[in-house]
Amino acid sequence: MFIDIDVSQQKKYNQNAYGDYFVSKRFPETGRLLAVLSDGLGSGIKANILACMTATMLLKFMEEGTSIKKSCETIMNSLPVCQVRKISYSTFSALDCDEFGNAKIVEEGNPQFLWVRNGKILEPDFEVLTSKEFPNRHMHIYHLKLQTNDRLIFCSDGVTQSALGSKNLRLGLRREGLIEIVKNELSKEPDISSSNLAKRIVKQAILNEPDRLPKDDVSAVCVYYREPRNSVVFTGPPYHQEKDSFYAKALMDFKGKKAIAGGTTANLISRELNIPIRTSVNLNMGKLPAISYMDGIDLVTEGILTLTKTCEYLDTDEFQNDAAGELANFMKDTDCITFMVGAKLNQAHYDPNLPIEIEIRKNIIKKLSDILQNKYFKKVNVQYM
């Protein structure tokens, strides 16, 4: 199973920093995923620092191999108390799960998460652990076994307490209101991505406010267990020409969406598999060469320039309407991306008279895969050929 996780956040109005903090880390080798959502006391910079420290420390503890229970207990016992308000500096929800459906969750102070299966909310059992130092702090510990299509929804109290005191929702949205929003969204779009679901929860929470201004930091984290969407990007001709047909066949046999980035590469696939290439009516698309078309391949673009631009787009998350924008969307829409990278060089690319510095393919792919893994939480495989 693939774990689709994403967050959406809004800061309290009039603040310039987020008072909730979310961190997550994926370990592709073991299929493990760690995530922490922390809500810092108050709002603005102070809350941001508190939440950031809590979340990053907790993630680091878990990453280093300390059990989630022990890590959370340590944090719970060591969080200071605000001198003015006499409450904890921050609250948190921590998740340690894997692709086989095993999940451990610990909550301290944050609203209880939702576990959704087939449109219904499940109520799992939990263990309560009270802090020895601070008797008013309690951890809730859950052990879940998740199935395909299950969802987990975590949020900060900015969601459940949205519209607090307003005419329609005197007690705020509360858990019941959140469940209603989630059920409603899922009935409209059962396979909605985590990214969109999180955005809609946050948007709805803010729309509940009479003046449409968030009175607290609002965060929603969604986790969706689903079958992975695979894709392959074939770029560059293989080092040994005699292996061309082998790799061309491997591309066609790949189960998932397929893209080719490279003119020579596209010709090679066309020749080996006998699929004609159709070019578009334009030569250029924005500042890049236009895309081409081949039956059985979802996207065909030029190589180095397009890949470099794609890297830039993904880094800034702002896409233009050109071949690189298409390739960036292609990658963003899938969970596991395989790069088949040909190691053959085209010497003409390294002519110092070329007006644009052209990067080495391997370097771009390295940069791209780092961004896809760290910023978009994708699983990336790179295969050199």
Binding site: T264, V281, L288, E302, G303, Q347
Partner: protein, 87 residues
């Protein structure tokens, strides 16, 4: 009726060496020659890698003739020659 076939290389080297300026051909050629000439792009003509030390990108093929260091003017000139052969 046979047509003059123009094939513009859209590969990396050609594109950065000036191929990006050849988009104009897509508008000029149909206006000037009607349906006698057909312009298409090619993902790569593979010419820059043959004599890479002395690459003369951008390349355009007009029928079997290769236009090196192609500009819109040079390509139109080559098309004129081929059109003449047709007549």
């Amino acid at each position: 009726m046979s047509k003059v076939k123009v094939n513009v290389c859209m590969g990396t080297t050609c594109f950065v060496m000036g191929g990006s300026n050849l988009q104009e051909l897509m508008e000029i050629v149909p206006k000037k020659y009607g349906d006698k000439v057909e312009v298409t792009g090619s993902p790569c003509l593979g010419l820059c890698s043959i004599n890479w030390e002395y690459s003369k990108a951008p390349y355009v093929k007009v029928n079997d003739e290769t236009v090196v260091e192609a500009t819109v003017e040079k390509v139109l000139e080559a098309i004129d020659k081929e059109v003449e052969k047709l007549n």
